[in-house]
């Protein structure tokens, strides 16, 4: 019987995808939310296949950074503090004088000065700005990192889809949050791999006493019994654990990527000597290696109830340099277009100075910055009053922010999570609108 000749293709590189590359090009989330048959139906396949890998780096400024000493200075007012403002590359936009490097690349940054949220305490605020929604017990909404890991992550990627770099293991309320449930209803496979401090993943190397064959045989046996257990018991928890084992296997093959020593010394010096800068640099290299989402934190140094000006004279210049280096590096590597960088905390800080030279929690009017993929460089949205006490133009809440982040990364913010036996949940509830002014 004559075989039919293969259908000729048009010569487009799209048709030359290797199977592995093809699978890598599919987001884990996309596969989990559509049937295998549907995968090949137009137009989903075409859309997914051409979708470029997106990345997100979240510089998590835990504790709540002051808007006065960063993106919304009020110099010369009774609330402004001792730091002046400086002009930026964008005419009419001023930053704190503590951000001279960011001022020089303001045309690449998008600033929101009108965040208005309701959580006044850290635990509430961290949950709100990590999950994008107020709690609805008994359901646990996944954090932004977990959702992006699912949506942007690669099926066969050895590198974790959600990496948390946090060299400060403590952090009061943040410490409590870190010990909690990041992935919520998405399951443990979308929890972060948490690294920090020593830069390397401990115990991720195969013992020399075990041969490669032994190692593979043990893994095959573990996999067999675990899968059998998962199928017999129909256990979602077992499924999550199996996924975690897969991830550990992946980690064993990529643990070297977490070693800062492999990064050129000149790069390390550019990012500054502090732990936050070093880990931000590590985030850049991990994104270069394909990590879809990396969150960099460093405890809660922004919680300046005491010595606000004394601490911010150090931590803000550190942040200034980190954002500058990260943005420039991503641009130089042609990655800025596909990598969204977000620098934010859980709220801002009070206009008033308290008895301890500090600023207190303030969710009523605060600021954040973004750069890179999907956002419009030079955009400045929202405004606060003379004292920075109230939003007077374009107030936005956590839902608007999350809708913006999802939109910038090419994810439908209002898509439903596919959850059996759950109420209907969306990436962003209430059909909250993205902040269109900053989307490119």
């Amino acid at each position: 019987m004559a075989k039919s000749s293969p259908a000729p293709n048009c010569g487009s590189p799209d048709h030359n995808l290797h199977r592995r590359k093809f699978l890598q090009g599919l987001s884990a989330g996309a596969v989990s939310t559509m049937s295998w048959a549907g995968l090949f139906g137009a137009p989903a396949f075409a859309e997914i296949a051409k979708k470029k890998q997106k990345h997100c780096i979240l510089l998590w400024l835990c504790g709540g950074p002051s808007q006065f000493e960063t993106w919304d200075p009020k110099p010369g007012t009774i609330t402004g503090g001792p730091f002046k403002s400086i002009p930026t590359k964008v005419p009419g936009t001023h930053f704190s004088e503590l951000l001279p490097k960011c001022a020089s690349i303001a045309d690449k940054l998008a600033i929101i000065r009108s965040m208005k949220t309701k959580a006044k305490e850290h635990t509430q605020g961290i949950n709100l700005l990590q999950r994008g929604h107020a709690p609805r017990p008994p359901f646990t909404r996944p954090t932004i990192g977990s959702v992006l890991a699912q949506q942007l992550g690669q099926l066969e990627s050895k590198i974790p889809n959600f990496i948390l770099l946090d060299p400060c293991p403590e952090g009061n309320e943040f410490k409590g949050f870190k010990a909690g449930n990041w992935a919520g209803w998405l399951g443990a496979e979308y929890s972060p791999v948490r690294v920090g401090g020593e830069f390397q993943i401990p115990d991720a190397h195969k013992l020399d006493s075990i041969t490669e064959d032994d190692h593979e045989a043990r893994e095959a046996l573990r996999k067999f019994f675990s899968k059998k257990y998962e199928n017999d018991r129909k256990s979602a928890a077992a499924g999550s654990w199996n996924a975690t084992f897969e991830r550990v296997n992946g980690l064993m093959s990529c643990s070297h990527l977490f070693d800062l020593e492999r990064i050129p010394q000149a790069d390390r010096e550019r990012y500054g000597p502090g732990a936050f800068g070093q880990h931000a640099l590590l985030a850049r290299t991990l994104v270069e290696e394909g990590a879809p989402f990396v969150m960099v934190a460093n405890g809660m140094p922004w919680d300046s109830h005491v010595f606000n000006h004394e601490i911010y004279q150090m931590v803000v210049p550190d942040l200034d340099n980190i954002i500058f280096q990260l943005t420039k590096d991503l641009e130089d590597r042609g990655m800025l277009e596909d990598t969204l960088v977000v620098a934010m905390g859980e709220f801002g800080r009070s206009p008033w100075i308290n008895q301890a030279r500090g600023r207190d929690h303030y969710p009523n009017a605060w600021s954040l910055a973004m750069a890179g993929g999907g956002v419009q460089g030079g955009a400045l949205v929202g405004a606060t009053d003379k004292y920075g006490a109230e939003v007077i133009e374009d107030p936005f809440n956590e839902e608007n922010l999350f809708a913006t982040i999802f939109s910038a990364l090419g994810i439908d913010p209002h898509a439903e999570f596919q959850l059996d036996g759950f109420p209907t949940f969306h990436h962003v509830e209430n059909k909250a609108a993205a902040i269109k002014q900053i989307l490119s």
Binding site: G63, T77, I78, T79, P82, K84, P167, C168, E170, G171, N172, G272, P273, G274, A275, G277, Q278, N298, G299, M300, P301, W302, D303, S304, H305, V306, F307, E310, I311, Q313, M314, V315, P317, D318, P351, W352, I353, N354, Q355, A356, R357, G358, Y387, A389
Partner: protein, 359 residues
Amino acid sequence: MNSPTLKKGKEIKLPSHVLDLTLGHNNQLYASCLDGGIYQISTVSKLLSKPYEEIARHDNFASGINWSSSQKTLVSAGYDGNLKWINPKGKEEKKETKSVKAHNFWSWQSRISPDGTKVATTTGQYLSGGYKYEPAPETEPSVKVFDIATGDLLHSFPHTPPVQSVAFSNNGKLLAAGNLMGEVILWDLEQGGKEIARIKTPDFTGWGIIKGHYYTGGVFALHFAPDDQSLYLAGMGSTTDPAAGNGKQLWQKFTWHDGVKKSGEAVKSEIGEGLMETLAFHPGGKFFLMAGRIFKGDWNAALFDHESGSRLHHQNVGFRISTSAFTPDGKLLYLGGGANQGEPDEKKEWGRVVIYQIS
């Protein structure tokens, strides 16, 4: 000795937090404030038409105000890095007679020599210099001494920034300056500024564990003992939670003539928690005041015996204290600071000066 006590007298409100006080000609009181203003304060009724009158202004926080009795001038310092010479009796537009750019960063503290001929000022920005956020080396001299008659720079001394406190010895020969990391350097001004001692104490500096990894605290106040044989340091005891401000209300005393030695410190059972910002010796030389903020305990202003170090008197003043001054006759004590700033309100006067009678 009978223990001295403080009896509260007049309380004066100022536009913003009072960072420094000085007594000028005829014991006229002057204050430098967070809003940049230098104010002449009416401590007795009807001296001025209102409790205070602005006589000069810095372009940022006014951190220091000093009176030179020999030169008959005030010298103020600010977070704008400037020193200003002010003639309080000058006409409205001529009160400020000279201005000198002393630093590129803030003047944290300034002090005048006992003979009124020199003013010392300290500076330095805390920038990350290491993985644990150790302070980076200075980018400009952290301690400077200027001639009050001419405005000329007499000495520049290196230190590790930020340098938050400075003091002249009572004989004017020595200068001491203390920083964030609890390092105090002593220089001999009569030997051309030769460094004669370096006191290092970890007890005033906190490295954050609970909130974040960085250093806070340091030496906020320095004062030589009346005989210049020892030096007092004040600040807040070490804490692992810099955001709480819960270190001990701490002073320590050091000698240096036979090697640096700690020769005294606050008795643990007599101190609470909170940052101490000011030290002042009573003119009689028998006791001194330490005051600041209360976090936990029952006082934020206390008198201590110079010889024994024991607490003689204490009270909660009710607001954060940043500065203090005894009158030369030793009968009055002025405490300056501020209440809560609260919601933004241009008309709110949250700076405070309280006069205490000493008996």
